[in-house]
């Protein structure tokens, strides 16, 4: 293993190379919680309502300003547990590595994954590696499954949303989408924008005590607009959003203007959208704004009393419908 600089098919064949790769790289970064001598891991010290979620990660490029596929694979899965009202406890990791992948790079990405899990206080208890032939993968794909426990007495869900409830977002939208796009250097644009990729647990924990907290979701692919449509689909209520209230950073605005993108459809990786009763909305906002991660949080809209579309009142005072995302957003060519 120490002589190898690149992943070979033999790193996935069950033999010496694979054993050494797991020991010298994965176990080293994941710590004692990962016992490779067992086929299945017990989950000690866990009680209450268990919650589980799983996600796959295929980001390109694998490293971008503010994160990489390793940190993203932890944040993405923990965030899904967090917004569902759970405290994450355990994580499993599957790595699908393409033949020819540089081992030093793999080490860097897996180290980041291990560090991110440690910072969030979750233990990696099981894992698997596979090597796919050159040309059959995008360098590295990761799959993580998270297990957590539901916070007692916290009962969140789309079914609790009522007309008049407020929509909050925890910070500026679209940073991740634009940061990754700039990192791909497709348009000859570059910039100092950093992805918002982060663990949202501090944000979700901050609202646990609010009786008016109905529902939380992290807007990832499809962005804020997609979350509003999930709410609309499930509840049947329309929604009114205020463009001037939605936080968007200046560089994101500038790139959107240049390429014809709509920030409402751009991915975030460290934001939370919360639906909170009218009464508790200001309290929720204050709780978020007290956190470094929530300094730019805002109340951005209201659940309507009737069925209807998601309507955005633009900063000029005009109105438009925020439609459901159809295709991937494309840059304009005109």
């Amino acid at each position: 293993m120490h002589d190898d600089r690149y992943i070979q098919l033999a790193h996935g064949n069950g033999g010496r190379r694979m054993r050494e790769l797991i020991a010298s790289l994965f176990v080293r970064h994941f710590g004692d919680s990962l016992n490779t001598q067992r086929d299945a891991a017990p989950l000690p010290d866990i009680s209450g309502d268990l919650m589980i979620t799983t996600d796959s990660f295929t980001v390109n490029p694998l490293e971008f300003p503010g994160g990489n596929i390793g940190s993203l694979a932890v944040h993405g899965t923990l965030n899904d547990l967090a917004v569902a009202g759970a405290e994450p406890r355990y994580l499993t990791v599957n790595a699908l590595i393409e033949e020819g992948f540089e081992i030093a790079r793999l080490d860097r990405l897996i180290a980041s994954l291990g560090d991110t899990a440690r910072e969030a206080g979750v233990a990696i208890v099981a894992g698997d590696t596979k090597v796919v032939a050159r040309g059959e993968g995008g360098g590295l794909y990761l799959v993580t499954t998270g297990i957590g426990t539901r916070v007692p007495r916290l009962n969140l869900g789309l079914e609790h949303i009522e007309p008049g409830d407020r929509l909050l977002v925890s910070g500026p939208i679209g940073d991740h989408g634009i940061a990754v796009m700039l990192a791909r250097e497709q348009f000859g644009l570059s910039g100092s924008l950093t992805s918002d990729a982060a663990c949202v647990l501090p944000l979700t924990r901050a609202l646990h005590a609010l009786p008016g907290l109905r529902f939380m979701r992290d807007p990832t692919r499809g962005g804020l607009a997609t979350v509003t449509h999930e709410i609309r689909e499930a509840t049947g209520y329309g929604m009114s959003l205020e463009e001037s209230a939605v936080p968007v950073r200046a560089p994101v605005k500038a790139v959107c203007e240049m390429l014809g993108y709509d920030p409402y459809y751009l991915a975030c990786e460290g934001r939370v959208v919360a639906v909170v009763s009218e009464q508790d909305a200001e309290k929720a906002l204050a709780l978020w704004r007290a956190l470094p991660q929530g300094a730019d949080a805002a109340i951005i809209g209201t659940i309507d009393h009737k069925t209807g579309p998601v309507v955005l009142t633009t900063s000029l005072g005009g109105q438009r419908v925020l439609d459901e995302l159809e295709d991937d957003p494309l840059p304009r060519i005109c």
């Binding site: 497709q186 348009f187 000859g188 001037s244 203007e257 014809g260 709509d262 579309p309 309507v311 009142t313 633009t314 900063s315 000029l316 005072g317 005009g318 109105q319 438009r320 419908v321 439609d323 159809e326 295709d327 991937d328 957003p329 494309l330 840059p331 304009r332 060519i333 005109c334």
Partner: protein, 379 residues
């Protein structure tokens, strides 16, 4: 945004004629107008008419057919701007009718966002032919010219479908002067990005020859509202000229370097616009010196004269009228009915710069039957 608000207030303070129709040339203009909800904010009487500036919408059907056949029959890697992939051509359902369907059928079709990506793909696959299906206006043709001037890998060729914007507007205006006709608009918002390359002066003929208020605008609310204000003021004062409301970006004379590259690499000739027909002096082609990179020379002509409705619009589709500003998108009989973004029939419902797609995406759901409203042309 304060600047945009100020322009809006100024417009509202003007005396507004009972009907004042402003055509915006670019799909980018239309996107901004629809996304900001400008139509609902402007005084009654001002009509904003989407114009011909959607490159995907006007790309000839036979060019897309050629691209599909090259991808399927010649086993090339076909790269195109993303919007182009979903535009349907006429043909039996049993055959791939878009580049996207060709890809599903096994062809190597890849979306790109810039000419640089086409070069990279060709360089990464040296043993394989890559064809860059380059549709677009001057703004797209300039980087394509720069790419070719710089030199491209041997295995990269270009299926060029480039168009100039001003000849389409000139044609609309010339048609409007024919006996019994009138132009379908009272003022023009000229394209900001095209002017950045070619210079705003290209649009002087509109006020000069046809006496219509004209203003160049970018894709920001403030620039567009300034242009609308300018058009109204020009009409009101009777002092008709070419205004530049994008002056900080679109400089007099445009970008001489880009123009020199265009001249070096491309010639200009008559060209077909989908559903509209041939417009004189509106099409780009490669100079003979770059003939080796011309996919039309490198590969066989795949056009099929037996093909039903070859080169035409799909039955019932009014995209051509939408592109010419003769009807609004929701006046097309297919709008929102048979033709929606998830199953588009005409190109205007495919592209993010197509007026139908923009109207649908920003919430216009009610199709208007052509009988029940007055068309844009005849009040």
């Amino acid at each position: 945004m304060d600047e945009a608000r100020r322009w809006l207030e100024r417009i509202r303070a003007l005396p507004i004629p009972p009907r004042f129709r402003i055509m915006n040339v670019c799909g980018g203009h239309e996107r901004t107008i629809s996304m900001a909800g400008l139509r609902s904010l402007l005084p009654a009487g001002i009509e904003l008419i989407p114009g011909p500036g959607c490159p995907v919408c006007v790309c000839p059907e036979e060019d897309i057919f050629q691209a599909i056949r090259l991808a399927l029959d010649e086993k090339v890697t076909l790269v195109a701007f993303g919007d182009m992939l979903r535009v349907p051509v006429n043909g039996p359902r049993s055959e791939p009718r878009s580049l996207e369907e060709a890809r599903a059928a096994g062809a190597d079709v890849r979306p790109v966002a810039s000419p640089m990506e086409a070069v990279r793909i060709a360089r990464d696959t040296p043993g394989r032919e890559t064809v860059f299906f380059a549709a677009g206006f001057e703004t797209t043709m300039a980087p394509v010219a720069a790419m070719l001037a710089e030199g491209v890998p041997e295995n990269l060729s270009i299926l060029l479908s480039g168009r100039k914007t001003w000849p389409a507007v000139a044609m609309l205006l010339a048609d409007g002067q024919k006996p019994g006709q009138q132009p379908g608009f009272d003022a023009l918002i000229a394209p900001g990005h095209v002017s950045t390359i070619m210079g705003p002066e290209e649009w002087r003929f509109v006020p000069g020859q046809y006496g219509l208020p004209t203003a160049v605008a970018g894709f920001q609310n403030a620039s567009l509202l300034a242009a609308i204000y300018s058009a109204l003021r020009q009409a009101q004062s009777g002092r008709i000229f070419l205004d530049n409301c994008y002056a900080n970006v679109a400089h007099p004379g445009g970008n001489p370097q880009a123009q020199a590259l265009l001249d070096q690499v491309m010639t200009v000739g008559d060209a077909n616009w989908r559903g509209i027909g041939t417009i004189a002096g509106s099409g780009f082609a490669l100079q003979p010196a770059y003939g080796a990179q011309d996919a039309r020379r490198r590969f066989p002509d795949c056009s099929d004269p037996q093909r039903r409705r070859a080169g035409e619009m799909p039955p019932g589709c009014a995209c051509a009228q939408v592109v010419l500003g003769q009807i609004y998108p929701n006046q097309c009989p297919l709008y929102g009915r048979a033709c929606q973004p998830r199953h588009p029939i005409g190109p205007c419902m495919v592209s993010d710069e197509g007026a139908c797609r923009i109207w649908w995406a920003t919430g216009v759901r009610e199709p208007v039957s052509p009988e029940s409203v007055s068309s844009v042309e005849s009040p």
